[in-house]
C-alpha cells in the first residue's frame, strides 16, 4: 500500500502555496497539512493527487489567540497543541473536549485543525464543533482572503466550499457563554464516531438556571455533512431545563434525521444513537452550565 507518485513543494508563504495550487490546477493538486487523513487515502490509492503542496513551512498558519470574544486558531495548528491549550480550554471548552476524541494522541500530534475541517469527513468531530459554534473559516485564494461561515462551508461528504486553489488559513470561534458537551459513540475506543453530538447550552441569567436561554446542537455521522438540529434548538429556547423537555427535543431532532446505514449501524440505529447522545449531551451541557454559576 504505497502511495502513487506526485510532484511536491513545501512553500514558505500562503501566497506561494496558493500560487502553486493555481499553477498546477491540471495536476489535481491537494494540500498536505498533517496528512493523517490524506496519506492513508493515498496509500490505498483512493486519492491520487498529481501535486502535493505541503504547508509545513508556511509562516503564520499556526497559533492560538484570543481576539475579544473570538478564539482564533491557525489552520496548521496541531490538534495536540489545541488539546493542551489553556486558552482554548477557557474560551472554547467544547473544542478541547472534541479534539480529545479525535483518534489517538499520535494522530493528534500530526493532524491539524484546518486539515480536519478541510477534509470534511461527515463523522468528524471538528466540523460539528465549527457548526455548533457558528464559526467563521477564513480562506486564502488567488483573489485574496474571504470568510466562509461554517453553515456554508461543508457542502457534502469530503466536500467543502473551498475552491481548488484556496487554502484554509484560520478558524474563528465565537466564545460561548454557558455549558458545553461533546459526546460520541464509537465502536472501539477512539475509533471514528458512528454518531457525535456537539451541544452548547446557555441558561437563563435569572433564577437557578431553570430555563434554557438558547442552545446550539450539531451532529456528525447522521448526514452527508454535519448538521444543526435547529428545530430542537428552537424547542429548547426559553424552555425549562428539565429532563422531559430535553428528552422531547432529542426525540424530535432524531426523528427528523435520515441517516444512511453502513456495516456499523443501520439508519434506525443511527437515529436512536442521535436521540440518545443528544439527550445525554444536552443534559451534560446543562449540568456544566449550572456548575459554573
Amino acid at each position: 500500500m504505497k502511495p502513487p507518485p506526485f510532484a511536491y513543494a513545501a512553500p514558505d508563504t500562503v501566497e506561494e502555496a496558493v500560487g502553486l495550487l493555481t499553477e498546477h490546477a491540471d495536476a489535481e493538486p491537494r494540500v498536505l497539512a498533517g496528512g493523517q487523513s490524506l496519506i492513508p487515502l493515498m496509500n490505498f490509492r483512493l486519492a491520487k493527487p498529481g501535486y502535493l503542496v505541503d504547508l509545513r513551512n508556511v509562516a503564520g498558519l499556526s497559533g492560538i489567540r484570543r481576539e475579544g470574544d473570538v478564539l482564533v486558531i491557525g489552520a496548521m495548528t496541531r490538534m495536540a497543541e489545541v488539546e493542551r491549550s489553556p486558552e482554548v480550554a477557557v474560551a472554547a471548552p467544547l473544542v478541547t473536549e472534541a479534539v480529545g476524541l479525535v483518534a489517538h494522541v499520535p494522530v493528534r500530534n500530526s493532524g491539524t485543525v484546518g486539515g480536519s475541517l478541510a477534509h470534511a469527513d461527515p463523522a468528524a468531530e471538528l466540523p460539528a464543533v465549527a457548526l455548533a459554534l457558528d464559526a467563521d473559516l477564513v480562506a486564502a485564494g488567488p483573489g485574496g482572503t474571504r470568510v466562509i461561515p461554517a453553515a456554508a462551508f461543508f457542502t457534502g461528504p469530503y466536500s467543502t466550499a473551498l475552491a481548488a486553489d484556496e487554502i484554509l488559513t484560520e478558524i474563528r470561534l465565537p466564545v460561548w457563554p454557558g455549558g458545553h458537551a461533546f459526546t460520541e459513540f464509537s465502536r472501539v475506543h477512539a475509533n471514528f464516531a458512528v454518531v457525535a453530538v456537539a451541544a452548547l447550552v446557555e441558561l437563563d441569567g435569572d433564577g437557578d438556571g431553570d430555563r434554557i436561554r438558547r442552545a446550539a446542537l450539531a451532529l456528525a455521522g447522521v448526514a452527508p455533512t454535519p448538521v444543526r438540529a435547529t428545530a430542537a434548538e428552537r424547542a429548547l429556547a426559553g424552555a425549562p431545563a428539565d429532563a422531559a423537555t430535553i428528552r422531547a427535543a432529542a426525540d424530535a431532532a432524531a426523528t427528523s434525521l435520515s441517516p444512511a446505514g453502513d456495516l456499523h449501524a443501520s439508519p434506525e440505529t443511527r437515529r436512536g444513537l442521535a436521540r440518545t447522545y443528544l439527550r445525554r449531551g444536552i443534559e451534560l451541557a446543562v449540568a456544566r452550565a449550572r456548575n459554573e454559576r
Binding site: M1, K2, P3, P4, P5, F6, A7, Y8, A10, L32, G35, Q36, I39, P40, M42, N43, F44, L52, D54, R56, A80, H104, V105, P106, V107, N109, S110, H189, A190
Partner: protein, 166 residues
C-alpha cells in the same frame, strides 16, 4: 526517467543524516530501508494499528502515514535508540520481566509510545496507562502484561531520577 527527489536533513537516534528521497517515500520505509533501521515495523499502512510508531521531536507519530519529507529538520527516535551503552532501557527490561511481549511485532511501537506516555506523566495509574496505550494494537498479549511493564518501568525511572536505587 529518474524520479524527482528532495534532500532532507534529520537526526535519527542522535545521528545526523542527509538523504535524497522521493516525495512519496513513507517515513517508515526510509527508516527501515534507507537508514537500515528495521526495528520500526509495518502493520497496516493506513494509520490504525500504531505498529510503526516513532517519536518526532519527542511526540509519537505514525510513520506509515508520514512522508519522509515531512520529517525534514526533525529529530526522530526509534526503538534502536532506546538501549544505551549496551544496557536495556527500563521499559525494555520490564517488558521482558513482565512478559509484555509475545511475538514482538508491536513492541517497538509500543515502547516508543510508552516513552512518550511516561515523559508526559511519570506516575500514571494502570487505568491511565491502559487508555494511553489504546493507540497501539497488540494482537498477542491482551495488553495486561504491557500495562504492568509500563507501571514497573515508571517506578524504576522515577527512582533513578530521584537518585534512589531502583
Amino acid at each position: 526517467m529518474a524520479p524527482d527527489t528532495r534532500t532532507i536533513s534529520l537526526t535519527v537516534n542522535g545521528q545526523p543524516h542527509v538523504a535524497q528521497v522521493e516525495p512519496r517515500r513513507l517515513l517508515v520505509d526510509f527508516l527501515r530501508e534507507d537508514l537500515g533501521l528495521p526495528g520500526t515495523h509495518i502493520g497496516c499502512e493506513h494509520g490504525v494499528c500504531g505498529t510503526c510508531t516513532v517519536l518526532l521531536n519527542g511526540a509519537s507519530i505514525r510513520s506509515c502515514i508520514t512522508l519522509a519529507v515531512q520529517a525534514d529538520g526533525a529529530s526522530i527516535d526509534t526503538v534502536e535508540g532506546l538501549a544505551q551503552g549496551g544496557e536495556l532501557h527500563p521499559l525494555q527490561d520490564e517488558f521482558s520481566e513482565k512478559q509484555g511481549l509475545q511475538c514482538g511485532f508491536c513492541t517497538p511501537g509500543m515502547l516508543m509510545r510508552a516513552r512518550e506516555i511516561l515523559a508526559e506523566n511519570p506516575d500514571p495509574s494502570p487505568g491511565q496507562v491502559r487508555e494511553a496505550i489504546a493507540s497501539n494494537l497488540c494482537r498477542c498479549t491482551g495488553y495486561q502484561f504491557i500495562t504492568e511493564a509500563v507501571i514497573s518501568a515508571a517506578a524504576r525511572m522515577r527512582a533513578s531520577k530521584e537518585g534512589v536505587a531502583p
